[in-house]
């Protein structure tokens, strides 16, 4: 249930205003646009990493704007991609001589609007590239990885792209590294209860008591399969099995781990689950690298969680370790 709002139609605008009021030390409003950018933007000779998508997924996407992470976030209405016009305005505000990388989850609305903005910017001579996040193994089979949607894996791709841009890498290089991060990242999730949009009385979908939905989408799309509820250790096995069965080629032993809460699953529950994730990972011979148990890409008040692995090498580890500061994630 979304309880705190004034007019549902003002939800996006009011949340942007409140976010900027709270985190003005890190971000500023993009003038005349639904988005925020780092206080230092635009920065000459630095690639701008522009992320974005619908609202309702905090800390995605504005919570990742800050030095060493995303340069700007374009913010759509709840669960709706931002319009091409808004993407264009944000791009114009942050663009420098080094070019721009668009980075967002692979959903048709986001693809349409970011692509239209990209064409418009290229017509004006701005070098814009795009890397779409496609980490959700439940959304398309192996061999069709490009068709998959982006969920919590957003975080690793944004972090690696943002770190590369911050150290002054060229646009070619930032694009290559973001693509590599995406190719090395897999997620799978489960949902125990639906979410309710601001102003709506009923949830988008419900999960029967004693059951869970496998392979949920972060917009409350029902899962691809339904199952009976299981103890945490079995849920851990189920999540791990899905990811390990889909490990990228040349996957090593070192893996960044994100256990992500979807909105109303308690942190304590996530830690109980993580205990078993960790046990399985070690038993399988993996080395969990700087694990994160947190809410990183949510779905309003949905109950559930997702597990993300990002298989690492030295190049990606250096970028993951690089310092950054943002409302949602700081590494020093």
């Amino acid at each position: 249930m979304t309880r705190l709002y004034n007019a549902p139609t003002d939800f996006r605008e009011e949340l942007i205003e409140g976010f900027v009021a709270a985190y003005g030390r890190l971000v500023k409003r993009v003038p005349d646009a639904s988005g925020v950018m780092t206080v230092a933007a635009p920065q000459p000779r630095k690639v701008a990493v522009v992320v974005g998508g619908g609202s309702g997924h905090y800390p995605a996407f504005c919570g990742y704007v800050g030095p060493g992470l995303a340069t700007a976030a374009v913010m759509g209405n709840v669960f709706a991609a931002p319009s091409a016009e808004q993407v264009y305005r944000v791009t114009k505000a942050v663009t420098s001589d080094a070019g721009v990388l668009y980075c967002y989850g692979n959903y048709s609305g986001d693809v349409l609007n970011f692509d239209m903005a990209e064409l418009r910017c290229q017509d004006e001579g701005i070098d814009v590239r795009t890397v779409r996040v496609t980490d959700d193994v439940a959304s398309a089979p192996r061999g069709q990885e490009d068709e998959r949607r982006g969920i919590a894996g957003d975080f690793f791709v944004f972090k690696i792209a943002g770190a590369a841009a911050a150290r002054g890498d060229s646009l070619d290089e930032v694009e290559r590294l973001a693509r590599k991060a995406n190719d090395c990242t897999r997620s799978f999730g489960v949902a125990f209860g639906g979410c309710t949009l601001p102003g709506q009385a009923a949830p988008l979908f419900t999960v029967e008591p004693g059951r869970m939905e496998l392979g949920l989408g972060v917009h409350g799309e029902p899962g691809v399969q339904s199952s009976h509820m299981r103890p945490a250790r079995e849920v851990a096995d189920l999540l791990l099995d899905a990811l390990l069965a889909d490990a990228p080629p040349a996957a090593g032993a070192s893996v960044a781990v994100l256990l992500n809460g979807l909105g109303s699953t308690k942190y304590e529950e996530l830690f109980v689950l993580y205990k078993d994730v960790n046990r399985r990972l070690l038993a399988e011979g993996f080395q969990p690298y700087a694990p994160i148990v947190n809410e990183m890409v949510t779905s309003l008040d949905m109950a559930g969680c997702s597990l993300t692995f990002c298989w690492l090498d030295a190049e990606l580890i250096a970028l993951l370790d690089a310092p950054c500061a943002s409302a949602a994630y700081t590494n020093i």
Partner: protein, 211 residues
């Protein structure tokens, strides 16, 4: 629509009636969308149409220009795939119509241009369970109306094809958009975008009826 003055009135009236109709069906469209998507289609369409109505209030120019203005405002306010696609449909139809004439043949040509743009942007074909499944049969039906029939009559005669097309999407499996990730679980519900498009076409019928 006849003369440029009448066409101007029809476009403005259509936008008002379209907003009324979509707002009245907002919950129904949301429920249809929630069957396989995120349940916000009704709210998205209302948001877009409110902005389109606001934008044409101060706009001048031909009926085609008004549709272009409405399309741009719709796309920006609505956001998402629906915003981009319906906005592009309005804008492209308006650009093709231009300053007239505003007869059935010109509408068919303009709507075909709009349909082509939607198919190109959305990378979708008939049968993919999208608004195309209501729009394409409507245009086909409009194109075979008697050449000398008034636009209002031709439009009304073509409407059942759009309704039937939208209704038939309940037996289709989505191949584009977020709903496509669900495969056959979306079966049994008509596509929200196809249904809302029939409401837009019905609103135009009402707008033409009053001229």
């Amino acid at each position: 629509m006849g003369s440029p003055e009448v066409a101007d009135t029809v476009v403005r009236r259509w936008l008002v009636l379209a907003l009324e109709s979509i707002a009245a069906h907002e919950d129904e469209l949301g429920r249809l969308d929630a069957a396989a998507g995120d349940g916000d289609h009704g709210a998205t369409m209302v948001r877009g149409l409110r902005a389109a109505n606001g934008a044409v209030e101060t706009a001048t120019g031909s009926a085609g220009d008004l549709l272009m203005t409405a399309g741009a405002a719709f796309a920006d306010a609505a956001g998402g795939a629906s915003g981009a696609l319906v906005g592009a449909l309005l804008a492209t139809t308006g650009r093709t119509l231009g300053a007239g004439p505003y007869d059935t043949a010109a509408l068919v040509k303009a709507l075909q241009a709009g349909l082509s743009m939607v198919m190109r942007l959305g990378k979708a074909q008939p049968g993919d369970k999208t608004l195309i499944d209501a729009l394409a049969p409507f245009i086909t039906a409009l194109a075979v109306q008697p050449a000398d029939a008034p636009l209002a009559d031709a439009w009304r005669a073509a409407l059942p094809s759009a309704v039937a097309g939208a209704d038939a999407t309940r037996d289709l499996v989505a191949r584009r958009g977020r709903a496509a990730k669900l495969g056959e679980r979306g079966l049994g519900h008509p596509d929200a975008g196809a249904v809302s498009l029939t409401y837009l076409l019905q609103a135009m019928d009402a707008a033409l009826d009053k001229t």
